[in-house]
């Protein structure tokens, strides 16, 4: 589904990704872990197409297309979804409207007709139930005055409505209490399917107790230095990051 090959990227003149390679197959759930500043957030921003991140070399293929050639909205149309770490507030723009505009632009891309208001409302109410969200949410501005937990739930709600092929979850667990975390994880799990892949970026293993990954990768200084199954995450939780970093350093020197 997604193939990242030797990706280098800079932000404000500083190189953050330094030759990152990663392949994600259909239906797989990957967790990318790593200490602060290792490049986790940069990776997802680059994949989503943020302007201020400059790709200097390497390639990214998504469903057979060169992802780096596409504008952010085109990437979204192809089925790439980013659940933001800090979802932005857009005052005065109604939540429902944003969702509807987003969904209809996806449908248009797929050659489908617009959903009418009734169909749309039925769809969204269904998904809101899943995310345990209050109906009043529909009438509020996008993320306007939302608590941290509400914002994260809103992100997963959008994911549920837009049904992406590849979802990137950027620190989705941060700022969530345990109940909210369960709701969010439940939402994500219900969206797991054979043709949908998920990449979770997280600092802590906590999220992985609720959303079980097939693969775990450790990112450090802009590269993946170790990959394994979920037991790697548990080991990181127990022993911290230092030992992997040390081992990786030794390997590179050897």
């Amino acid at each position: 589904m997604l193939k990242i090959d030797n990706l280098h990227a800079r932000v404000e003149g500083r190189e953050i990704l330094k030759g990152l390679s990663l392949t994600i197959g259909e239906g797989e759930v990957h967790a990318i872990m790593g200490p602060n500043g290792s490049g986790k957030s940069t990776l997802v921003q680059v994949l989503a197409g943020r302007d201020d991140y400059q790709v200097t070399s390497g390639s990214v293929t998504f469903l057979g297309k060169n992802l780096l050639d596409l504008a952010p909205e085109e990437r979204a149309h192809e089925g790439l979804f980013l659940a933001f770490q800090y979802p932005v507030e857009i005052p005065g723009v109604n939540n429902t409207y944003l969702l509807k505009a987003a969904l209809n632009s996806m449908r248009k891309h797929r050659g489908e007709s617009d959903l009418d208001a009734v169909e749309f409302l039925a769809l969204i109410r269904d998904k809101m139930k899943l995310m345990e969200m209050d109906a009043s949410f529909l009438n509020r501005g996008v993320n306007e005055g939302f608590s941290g937990g509400e914002k994260k739930r809103n992100e997963i709600l959008q994911m549920a409505v837009l049904e992406p092929r590849l979802a990137l979850l950027d620190e989705t667990d941060s700022g969530l209490d345990i109940d909210a975390l369960k709701v969010v994880a439940n939402g994500v799990n219900s969206l797991r399917s054979a043709d949908r892949s998920i990449v979770m970026v997280t600092h802590y293993q906590r999220l992985l107790d609720y959303i079980e990954p097939d693969f775990v990768h450790v990112l450090s200084a802009g590269r993946i230095i170790r990959s394994g199954d979920k037991s790697l995450a548990l080991e990181l939780e127990r022993r911290g990051y230092d030992w992997v970093l040390k081992e990786a350093l030794e390997e590179s020197q050897a």
């Binding site: 302007d51 909205e73 932005v88 857009i90 005065g92 505009a101 987003a102």
Partner: protein, 482 residues
């Protein structure tokens, strides 16, 4: 911004859709201003003597005045002798008795403007008084209004039919000595609208006027007077357009509102005069004096304006809060692009006890435009318990435009509570990216965000106008505001 957002450029650079000229015979007096011109205007309109004298006093006073230069505006000097002060469609001589008699070309003009007189009026339940150049052409729904006791007619008609009301109220809120442009208007105004809502009446329709400047080298000097007696209520809408012309045209209107005890006047404007071209050639100079007198207890005057047109806008719809517990409101969206300049805002003068005012101003600047908010909140010594809240936000698009804020706050009463907040920022890159990540095109995302930015103002507009306003901002509105 300008370079990395071509969609927006395209959006704001859309052609001016209302720039056509109607080809009809008009009765225009030669350019120039002197006492004879004023006498001629007055004679043409068969005015009573008190009005002619008032005009002449205004003219005499105007000669002693200087054009103001304090606003944050730049323009070449206006040659007041090059303007024609009266232009009426010729067919006016035998005035239409009903819509059927109105010159079909005129009706066509309104069609092009998107205001089909009968259609729109019937469907929306709006009574329209259309002012074409300087005279009122047709007023619809007179019957229904008359039944309710409401007077809604052109100013000229009111002078003939209700001279006592005109004499009583004209110039009471904006005296002929008020300011340069208002004084000029007092001397030469040609028509406008008059509304009188008698005691206890809730006007059954939204009243509406469309203004259009058609003839070349003319100025438009209309005057609107709205009187709401005790306990009455009226909502009045005004829309403006003008054809594309290379030279600048002057529009110097005066609007006076009077609200008695418990009366409420809601005055909404969508102003889309021709803004000039990208180089700043042509366009309307829109120098307007609008003031409301909350004369009575518990009275309320609310101004809502969406200003997208004009080369230069100079207007400060104001409220004099004389009555105890009276309420003044000002909601404004001002969009400037290319070489447009706007210096607009409001004055809230708190005189009565427990008076309150709200100001919400949203300025959007693009291209090389300059947009200024200028406001005065004044709390007089006797205005016990006065309250004001002002929110004043500017959105910048492009690095060659400017956005300025000049709020004056003068408080002489210790029980007053005045709050002013202002922010200026460019359109949020994070917000744009968020929308695009959700698959929404950049153009739509800009529309959505700009519309959201203006939402507080749009929700104050009557429904049909809100639609038009949002269309004017080139925004697909469905659901985004509501």
């Amino acid at each position: 911004m300008a370079s990395d957002n071509p969609e927006f450029e395209q959006l704001v650079n859309r052609g001016y859709a209302h720039g056509f000229v109607t080809d009809i015979d008009s009765d225009t007096i030669p350019p120039g201003l002197n006492e004879d011109v004023i006498r001629m205007i007055s004679a043409k309109k068969k005015e009573p003597e008190f009005l002619l004298n008032w005009r002449l006093r205004a003219y005499e006073h105007w000669l002693t005045m200087k054009e103001p230069n304090w606003a944050h505006l730049h323009h070449t000097p206006i040659d007041y002798q090059a303007i024609s002060y009266f232009s009426a469609p010729k067919s006016r001589d035998d005035a239409p008795k009903s819509l059927d008699e109105v010159d079909p070309k005129l009706l066509e003009t309104y069609e092009k403007l998107g205001i089909p007189l009968h259609e729109r009026a019937r469907l929306a339940g709006v009574a329209v008084d259309a002012v074409f150049d300087s005279v009122s052409v047709a007023t619809t729904f007179k019957g229904k209004l008359a039944k309710a006791g409401v007077i809604f007619c052109s100013f000229s008609e009111a002078v003939q039919l209700h001279p006592e009301l005109i004499e009583r109220y004209l110039g009471k809120v904006v005296p002929y000595t008020d300011n340069y442009f208002a004084t000029l208007n007092s001397a030469v105004f040609t028509d406008g609208s008059f509304v009188f809502i008698p005691k206890g009446v809730r006007c059954p329709l939204e009243l509406s006027t469309y203004f259009r400047i058609n003839a070349a080298n003319t100025g438009q000097f209309e005057r609107t007077l709205i009187v709401a007696e005790e306990g009455s209520h009226v909502s009045y809408l005004e829309g403006c357009t003008a054809p594309m012309r290379d030279e600048n045209q002057l529009h110097a209107a005066v609007v006076e509102l009077i609200a008695m005890d418990d009366a409420e006047i809601k005055y909404s404007t969508v102003q889309n005069w021709y803004p000039g071209d990208e180089e700043g050639r042509g366009g309307i100079y829109n120098f307007v004096t609008k003031r409301g007198d909350c004369a009575g207890r518990n009275s309320k005057i609310s101004w809502t304006q969406v200003e997208t047109g004009s080369a230069i806008t100079w207007k400060y719809p104001s409220c004099i809060l004389r009555g105890d517990n009276s309420v003044g409101e000002f909601y404004s969206v001002a969009v400037t692009n290319n070489m447009q300049q706007a210096d607009t805002g409001t004055k809230m003068v708190h005189i009565g006890k427990n008076t309150s005012s709200t100001i919400v101003s949203k300025g959007i600047s693009a291209g090389r435009a300059q947009s200024s908010y200028r406001g005065l909140v004044q709390v007089m010594a006797g205005a016990e318990g006065a309250r004001n809240h002002t929110q004043c936000d500017s959105l910048l698009m492009g690095d060659k435009c400017g956005a300025h804020t000049f709020p004056y706050i003068e408080v002489k009463n210790p029980s007053a509570r005045v709050e002013h907040e202002a922010t200026t920022s460019k359109i949020g890159e994070d917000q744009l990216f968020y929308c695009r990540q959700r698959g929404i095109s950049e153009e739509d995302a800009v529309n959505m965000i700009v519309n959201g930015f203006c939402k507080e103002v749009f929700k104050e507009l009557p429904m049909e106008f809100a639609v038009e306003a949002q269309n004017l901002l080139c925004v697909s509105l469905e659901g985004a505001v509501g």
